[in-house]
Symmetry: C2
Subunit: 387 residues, 2 copies
């Protein structure tokens, strides 16, 4: 399989922009102010790892009509000019006297009327990536215009992936699939967990990942304590259950799934827990069809994974996936989001073993007209065994 | 060299906490509310890549006396319990009805009096990592207590690194040094830049990086267009200047420096530009001693790099470094921060070549009583050559 061209045709960004503007009109918003990496990339295609640096704020203004306007540090102009954005306004950041707030407020005043309402992400999973003092100054400078909720417009649009987006996630998942198949080469009894982590990330890169923004995992006897820890230097021991959970990136899109391995023959309760996790995942997959709601997936998986009704500390059994490692929605009983074609989700059931240990399994799926389709390769009941 | 033990002794976190509390008393703050990864890790030691997921907010409250209090999603409790923090308050996130705001506001009200002022990061390089709607709800719930600036307390403390922190940065820099020495093995004429990026990240891991949060670079004839781009699939050509700039991590601490390579014998202006960059870096190094101010470093480097007085779009010639890829301060003419022992900085002069191309060189240093000390290995005038 050869990878499709990087990036997207301009039509994809035009469509996203038009769709947002239609929702803005409905919500009575004169503009959207975007401040975070995924928001800005969604409408512009601006892809850089430079967001790792917290120094500079980056802004994009989405007016009620027309193209997005980039209000960004001059260090990013060369890269932004390679996107479809033509209206670029730059300042030389960092500027201790005014780090872009004047330029941003001029831009927002230019594209909105005095009584305008400017939408800013304010809901769950969001934050405003600008200094709080600058946000307060901006708010004053814009009066009588108001900053208000963005009505979750970007979140709502991002929930449904285009075929081009799904293709990228599928490639990312394929890379991780192949890296997981090579764990036998890199992890044996005695290998320090930190070495396994390093080698696994190198396998992901070797298989084609652009970079590996996320790897967590654990190795312990008969389950593990949590799913978010970095590696220790402790060596793998016979009887350990090793879990690796990676979010690697291809062309700006993530996969996010894990695999469990038994070091040596698995204990009966480990094998049984693994089989239960696979059955729970399959139950989630079967329930994942248009018309169902997210809560249905929770109940379908939890009924199999935890037939005694226990829930677990992780708080959810999966989530959206795309430009970010985790996206809206969360697979929890309270989520009544209706499944529609184009949603990409992780199914992530969890079981509790003795002594508070847990095991977690995770796959990635996309919702199609007729039901769910795997993006990662579904696993069999038997836990993988390393020696 | 064997790496020192991971993490820090509890005394380091106690000292950080006491120092913050002394500054809080000076600033009239009853508590600090911490919401971002580096702030929370600085006081607790909580190290996880799980911050890659935007779903859940994480809070730490630093009261006027006593230990920090963690107010966090239950999924993080197991890992937080391994730190020195003993007061943990958790909720099962995500919770669509109250995602921790009630618990946080109860905690803040418990540790502050009615007229108390609670400090929140609000200056440059900061943001508040919580949904804006939750922040506004918290502000209401806390009244008549006020949310105000944190007086840059955490930023001021983090500016000066302890010996234990410097040791971690030195190890990170050593790993990158060795990875750069292996670029000859992984990059030749015809190698796609994206392949160079993948292999370089794998080299970093192989040399001991825990993970590689940052890699940018470029390859083009007689300089490159910017320093923040991800890789294209274009192959290296004879005459290209290849630049790789990495921020890799060891035990929670970054290095951040770059190296330039000429594919084949360098053009005269490339070699001359490289020599000028090295001279500029050395000039910055010589100027970097206690009592000087940051602006002195800018002028020392820029006088050599750009004797015609040109400045460049990057906006600065280096910055602080530590738990983040870039930290306060910025090496710009406006920065009057006095250099004191324990500051870790990058020196990052930049020159402009024909057709708007640039070249950038970067090293990492620490300020000691008697002057600067290299953390990365300083380079000679001759640009490295690949074939």
């Amino acid at each position: 399989m050869t990878a499709p061209a990087r990036g997207f045709p301009e039509a994809e960004f035009e469509r996203r922009t038009r769709n947002a503007q239609a929702l803005m009109a409905e919500a009575g918003l004169s503009a959207l102010l975007l401040t975070t990496e995924p928001e800005i990339r969604y409408y512009t295609g601006f892809l850089t790892r430079f967001w790792e640096s917290p120094t500079r704020p980056w802004y994009v203004v989405l007016p009620a009509t027309g193209q997005p306007i980039a209000v960004i540090p001059s260090i990013g102009a060369h890269l932004m000019r390679q996107t479809w954005i033509t209206d670029l306004r730059t300042w030389q950041a960092p500027d201790y006297s005014d780090d872009g707030v004047g330029l941003l407020s001029d831009t927002l005043r230019e594209v909105t009327l005095m009584g305008g309402v400017i939408g800013l992400a304010d809901g769950m999973e969001s934050h405003v990536r600008m200094p709080r003092a600058d946000l307060l100054a901006l708010e004053s400078a814009l009066a009588p215009r108001k900053l208000a909720s963005d009505a979750q417009i970007t979140r709502r649009l991002r929930l449904i992936k285009s075929d081009a987006e799904i293709a990228k996630i599928r490639i990312a998942a394929g890379i991780a699939d192949r890296a997981f198949d090579r764990v036998t080469e890199i992890a044996q009894t005695g290998t320090p967990l930190s070495t396994v982590f390093r080698r696994f990330q190198a396998s992901c890169l070797d298989e084609g990942a652009d970079w590996v923004p996320y790897l967590a995992g654990a190795a312990d006897h008969r389950g593990y304590g949590d799913v978010i820890s970095p590696a220790t230097d402790a060596p793998l021991e016979t009887g350990h259950v090793l879990m690796l959970d990676t979010g690697l990136m291809h062309d700006g899109y993530f996969c996010d799934f894990d695999r469990n391995f038994s070091i040596g023959a698995p204990a009966a309760e480990v094998q049984s827990a693994h089989a239960r996790l696979i059955d729970a995942t399959e139950a989630g997959f079967a329930a994942a069809r248009p018309g169902a709601v997210i809560a249905d997936l929770f109940h379908a998986m939890n009924a199999v994974a935890n037939p005694d009704g226990n829930t677990m500390d992780a708080g959810r059994l999966g989530h959206g996936l795309g430009m970010q490692l985790t996206e809206w929605p969360s697979i929890i009983p309270a989520d009544q989001t209706e499944l529609v074609p184009g949603m990409v989700l992780t199914l992530e059931p969890s079981v509790t073993l003795a002594d508070g240990k847990i095991m977690v399994h995770e796959e990635n799926i996309v919702i199609r007209e007729t039901g769910a389709e795997w993006l990662s390769t579904p696993q069999g009941s038997e836990i993988r065994v390393l020696t």
